[in-house]
């Protein structure tokens, strides 16, 4: 009963701000005179260019996932098991890309591999409009997902188990294969599925780096809705993506549950040690070099471009109202972004916290487990679908929010909630119910039990969840760009608009704003690193 009570608000939130708008836009495309035109699904899927899009979407996601695992798994090991100076800072740095808006990442990669980019200047190599630029950008984005998901668990695996196997005569490989790998496999699978999900639904990266030839499902939905205005094709594609994402999430939920099976976990600080020997030194060096080349270099190019004018000219230009692009000086976007992100964080923490509380018990029924997967859906549904859905569905009393500023934080909270749930859930599940019972037996009121038992245990996780929701909201682009008001742009929206205007000054300002956004995200993440003691969260 109480669990259902807890779920009232999250369910209402998702029904009103996700399911209803998405259903409205899909209905607009597929309903003629009140009747569903389901025959359209077959028609659309029979088109060769649509099948081409589906095929490209799938194979680039598979390739991106494989490449990410290949490059990031050694990183996960190094971050988990090695102790080296600057580890904490570097862990925050590799997470920065994950929360950066895709438009910024796309631009950074263009500056690196595009015309007049670093590689072009040095060796005349250009990768833009090739699939390689897309794949590398996907690795850049998702490196942190693997390092955090797999590395987090790896750090807590008791190394003595493997040592015991060695002692009993197993070879190093055999010990690793029989002891570590089985323990790690569900985490690797979960990470791979998340990377697959994020790259399957990739939008900004493909749009900016892919040129006119490459198109993922998500880009195609955008084109069909926003440019071709073929709402029925867009609706069919939305449904296809919905089904695919639902399947990915179901498998993900299954692997997550398997990961929660009893493992002997230890304090991560006890497992990390300084690298020993040539082999380990080389591994560490290799990981550091790959991080430098793939993650730090694109970010550094952004910063360098933003400073490519004497006396911080591009930064100073941000404070002037240019009269054309915005109705406010671009610098005002920082204030807007922070305000929106705070509101979005508050909403995400309340909704996500309640949902996590409802999902806490392991013996939760099928219904509740389904809800768990449902909460992740906004991560995989086209932002343009949500954005257009908001426009056409939230426009009548009592929910006439279309011209209200709250629309932006609501859309951002939709992507923030899954992170809150995934961070809070493991911690809440770890709270021993007997502690609460003991407190109650000793005469504490329920409120006091919550304050004295639960709160101290989950406070840290709550802060981390809030921090992640904040960073993700700050970087949210796809839906925000549809609903942000022109006189109240957020940082990513301002960057995109500056980029779409010709001239050095606009480009330089875009780089300067991106750098500011990057620094804000990095600071938020560094604070989180300091807070994080246990690594049980999934992100």
């Amino acid at each position: 009963m109480t669990r259902l009570g807890l779920m009232v608000l999250p369910v209402a939130f998702f029904a009103v701000f996700f399911a209803y708008p998405v259903a409205a836009i899909v209905g607009r495309g597929l309903k003629v005179d009140g009747a569903w035109q389901l025959g359209r699904i077959g028609e659309v899927l029979a088109q060769s260019d649509i099948r081409h899009v589906l095929w490209f979407t799938t194979w680039q996601a598979l390739a991106s996932t494989a490449l990410t695992l290949l490059i990031a798994l050694p990183g996960a090991y190094v971050f988990a098991r090695f102790d080296f100076p600057g580890r904490q800072v570097l862990r925050a740095v590799v997470t920065v890309p994950f929360v950066l808006p895709t438009v910024v990442v796309g631009t950074a990669f263009l500056a690196l591999v595009g015309r007049g980019g670093l590689l072009d200047d040095l060796w005349g190599v250009r990768l833009d409009t090739t699939v390689w630029a897309i794949l590398l950008a996907h690795v850049f984005f998702n490196y942190a997902v693997v390092v955090r998901t797999v590395g987090g668990l790896w750090a807590q695996l008791d190394p003595r188990q493997e040592e015991a196997a060695r002692m009993l005569g197993a070879s190093r490989l055999r010990a690793w294969r029989k002891v570590t790998l089985p323990a790690l496999a569900p985490a690797v699978a979960a990470a791979a599925l998340m990377v697959f999900l994020f790259t399957f639904t990739s939008f900004g990266v493909v749009q900016i780096l892919g040129g006119p030839t490459f198109s993922t499902l998500e880009v195609e939905i955008y084109r069909q809705t926003s440019e071709v205005f073929d709402l029925s094709t867009a609706a069919v594609l939305t449904i296809v993506q919905f089904v695919a994402v639902g399947a990915i999430l179901a498998v993900h939920a299954w692997t997550v549950r398997r990961r929660e099976t009893a493992l002997r976990l230890v304090d991560p600080s006890a497992t990390a040690r300084r690298p020993r020997g040539v082999g380990q030194g080389a591994l560490l060096a290799g990981v550091l070099v790959s991080v430098l080349l793939l993650l730090v270099l694109p970010l550094a190019v952004l910063v360098q471009r933003s400073l490519d004018s004497p006396d911080f000219g591009y930064y100073r230009a941000l404070t002037h109202d240019d009269g054309g692009t915005f109705l406010v000086p671009p610098i005002a976007a920082i204030g807007n972004s922070l305000e929106y992100a705070v509101a979005a964080t508050a909403i995400a923490v309340v909704v996500g916290g309640l949902a996590a509380a409802a999902l806490t018990r392991r013996d939760a029924g099928r219904l509740v487990r389904g809800f768990d997967a449902l909460l992740m859906l906004p991560l995989g549904v086209s932002a343009v679908t949500v954005g257009f859905g908001f426009l056409i569905s939230l426009d009548k009393p009592p929910l006439d929010l279309r011209s209200s500023w709250i629309l932006v934080p609501l859309a951002q909270a939709l992507v923030g909630v899954p992170f809150v749930v995934r961070t809070m859930l493991p911690v809440l599940r770890a709270v021993d119910g007997r502690l609460r019972e003991a407190a109650a037996v000793l005469g504490a009121s329920p409120w006091r039990v919550w304050r004295e038992v639960d709160l101290p245990l989950v406070r840290r996780a709550l802060l981390i969840a809030a921090g992640f929701a904040f960073a993700v909201s700050l970087g949210e682009f796809g839906a925000t760009v549809f609903i942000a008001r022109p006189d109240n742009p957020t940082l990513p929206v301002a960057v995109a608009r500056l980029l779409s205007r010709p001239g050095d000054l606009n480009y330089g300002q875009a780089m300067a704003l991106s750098t500011i956004l990057m620094v804000v995200c990095a600071v938020a993440l560094l604070v989180l690193e300091r807070l994080r003691t246990d690594r049980t969260g999934e992100f």
Binding site: L9, R223, E227, F229, A357, S404, I406, P446, P502
Partner: protein
Amino acid sequence: MNTKKYCAVLVGLGLVTLSACGSGSDGSSGSDSKTVTLVSHDSWAVSKSVLKDFEKQSGYTVKVLKDGDAGQAVNKAILTKDNPQGDVFFGVDNTLLSRALDNGLFQSYDAKGSATVKPAYRVDETKHRVTPIDTGDICVNYDKAYFSKHKLTPPTSFADLVKPEYKNLLVTENAATSSPGLGFLLGSAAQFGDGGTSRSSEAENGGGWQAYWKKLKANGVKVVDGWEQAYDQEFSGSAGGKKAGGDRPLVVSYASSPPAEVIYGDPKPTTAPTGVSYGTCFRQTEYAGLLSNAENTKGGKAFIDFLLTRKFQEDMPLNMFVYPVIEGATVPAEFTKYGPQAKDPETMAPAKIAADRDQWVKSWTSLVLK
């Protein structure tokens, strides 16, 4: 027990947050009759003083909602037409006009001053659902320095572009995603006819725009997604392209691009570094209309009247790099000197565009991009 409390507290908190947010909104747009809300695309721009004068004279406050690029803005306006976000929409062009009209986006209003509009730009003259506001020509631009260095005459027509001496020189935009890209495709269709429909005679003898584009592709045309990329990255003649190392001396842009190179030049050049191939032009006209279900129709009408005043018409060129549509409006000297309007541009009736656009873009995509 305890979870119940949890729940109550958190739900309470959530409701407080949500309701606080609700009351924080600043009300719906244009609800008072003293505000006129204009919905437009990102390129909308006007001198502050000119807009202030209108506000002072009419007593209305103007609110502007820039809603994405031209296509997006029209599509969003159509999706929200039952409960529009504003009173007036500006920026639907002849390539999208039928989509707007067929979807009932506008209500009739015969603007004061519609008689001063040059006859060539007038449309929908029986119902007056839209008012022409500005016009421009989508044409191939060339890099003067490249052609004088290589002692080559710049191309002057569509047919020239497929000649071997211009191999690998042209960059254009994706017709599916860019309005100059679509304009260039429509221009070629107006010139060569539609060879794709099975009934047409061109199809039988292999003519039409499809055959032209096949030759253009064989001649090394490069296609990029948007105008910014084509003009500021790939084109060798623009200030941005020079800096980016662009190596294509021919680009699909506007007749008003050379004046822009002069006006925004730093330092200001004595002559335009680029020229226009006038035989490759397609005429684009932008319209404004009073939105159906607008809240402030009176204010909206006054604003459309304002768009046709000489003051606004003469203010447009330097703000949006377009030409006026009314008789007797003067344009800046740079425009007449470096980028006059095409004398005989390709044109196409909006109804024809509406009938064939989507199919053409589709076959163009598979012909040129795949």
